[in-house]
Symmetry: C2
Subunit: 371 residues, 2 copies
Amino acid sequence: MQSFNPPIRTLMGPGPSDIHPRVLSAMARPTIGHLDPQFVGMMDEIKEMLKYAFQTENALTMPISAPGSAGMEACFVNLVEPGDKVIVCINGVFGMRMQENIERFGGEAIVVTDEWGTAVTPSKVEAACKAHPDAKIVAFVHAETSTGALSDAKTICKIAQDNDCLTIVDAVTSLGGVELKVDEWGIDAIYSGTQKCLSCVPGLSPISFNEKALDKVRNRSTKVPSWFLDLNLVMGYWGKGAKRAYHHTAPVNSLYALHESLVMLQEEGLEAAHARHAAAHEQLKAGLTEMGMEFVVAADQRLPQLNSVIIPDGVDDAAIRGTLLNDYNLEIGAGLGALAGKVWRIGLMGDSARKEKVLFCLAALKAVLGK
Amino acid sequence: MQSFNPPIRTLMGPGPSDIHPRVLSAMARPTIGHLDPQFVGMMDEIKEMLKYAFQTENALTMPISAPGSAGMEACFVNLVEPGDKVIVCINGVFGMRMQENIERFGGEAIVVTDEWGTAVTPSKVEAACKAHPDAKIVAFVHAETSTGALSDAKTICKIAQDNDCLTIVDAVTSLGGVELKVDEWGIDAIYSGTQKCLSCVPGLSPISFNEKALDKVRNRSTKVPSWFLDLNLVMGYWGKGAKRAYHHTAPVNSLYALHESLVMLQEEGLEAAHARHAAAHEQLKAGLTEMGMEFVVAADQRLPQLNSVIIPDGVDDAAIRGTLLNDYNLEIGAGLGALAGKVWRIGLMGDSARKEKVLFCLAALKAVLGK
């Protein structure tokens, strides 16, 4: 066996996105202990910078030491107790995964369905709340990575609050790419991933819980059916204060990378980052429209950072993606679930949301499609 | 906020261990997609090299995308069903954590206790098997990181087999450091960590399940109460064959690091790696004995790679460790659980098991202890 030297790709699929060399080189810095005071200081800085990214003052704002799927699980395994009714909005793959989580932890899922490629319809959520006054949680995906639809998190959270429900929000693809205001919108529990608009390596899942959500965790009548993700224990390690209880060995070098990507987000500023994602989307849209290609999602519900476009008639999905990858070192995403084989997903996330990359992507697509 | 530049430490605690520059620089290679054929090829190589490290032909041999605690949880959440009786051997912190896992997943833990700092007593395991003929699993820690005791995995597995029990083995600290033969010893399910004797970054947990263990997973009467760790799903991503089902986004760059550390293990050879750990231990032991220091664990049960030594009378534990860290950039470990404040844990794991580092560690200890 030989060392692995990856090809140099341009990553314009649904994630991971391209990673800035500053972040990659931060990863390669010498490992220190996970209880080293210097490391603990860095953890505190990560927490502060994540609070900025999430726009929250929540004390429990930290990265779970595992990918976004584990962040999702951290929310559901801590907040759902056996028998709890949870209203879950499904308009793509990740809403379905939420339902899986709810049911595995003994909850009862009340499903609110919307078409794949459309946003969650707030009035349907309201109707479900009224029909199930004993529901305890409303769960939905802010930015559906499988379709590219952006839901109105602010309105849905308001409905949940008015009906005494906690909210669990999937912000895997939205964090850093579009407006997201955890405190102002009253989001109770949220999770994200590092490999999308934060342009960090995959493998970490930033989460944030407010006091209302933590009260539910603290007052559970059953133990959390996970040791690794039990926030009562995780808090002892990531919590404020000098004494850090050992819980697990943190992924030290991946956290160096997250720290650096968050420093870069602060330097750029959240609003500037959002504007950059929006501008890249406009540029991509103009080019794709010129090529006669169509979007799956209506303009007013469309995510700038995840563009689902309909594969033109007669075009071989896998062959084209293969040519882009092999001849151009360009990765775009396949369709997922109900959209498999029907769409491509072009990601403009983090460091991939740059005009030079959009130009290249459009030029490569034109070439392989013979436009 | 500024970029984080860690100090250059020598890591001789209970892990993470020092990481070779080849592994660190592998981490910084450009990220590619987790479904990229080149990445999938690298995953296959990792599986092959892990089979070598574990000395197994198990098809399900792969790294869980999270730290060792999640690897432990992957074993228990998949194999323990509500009501299952599990014999669990406790002779340190990690046996206790196993018990926590069993109980959280609805199992009944039959506890076999040994003194902290001693190995698991096989005859006690046998007695527990006889007393509980309906027990389904025997779980134990091969190398107790909290004490430095090495248990006789071969004998305990034989007892389990003779009593129709599956085995779950914690090899977090043993893999790569001491003899470990998964197939020959008949271990059914095993988990490890990357940040110990493999000298890779923390954050991944290699596991291996044989067919007998997988049969139990496939024939569960209840769904695995975890989506992230359900091996029925994980196998679809890491399994053999061209079609890889998307499960979660793998920690691409951490896996580059694991690949490189496993290439280095192959280059050195398992037996040479074990011999290097043993030699470093002999060297450390000679130096410590000369200084009048004593080991917690008896010589015939002692792990070479994790040395618990008794803190001399009148010595301030935290102050000495602080001086070593701040003045010498040397990390040694504190005691854990029942041994907190009473011992230091000196790790000789992976790239920390080198004579130049042992010499340095001994010299620094002499200086700070005024010996």
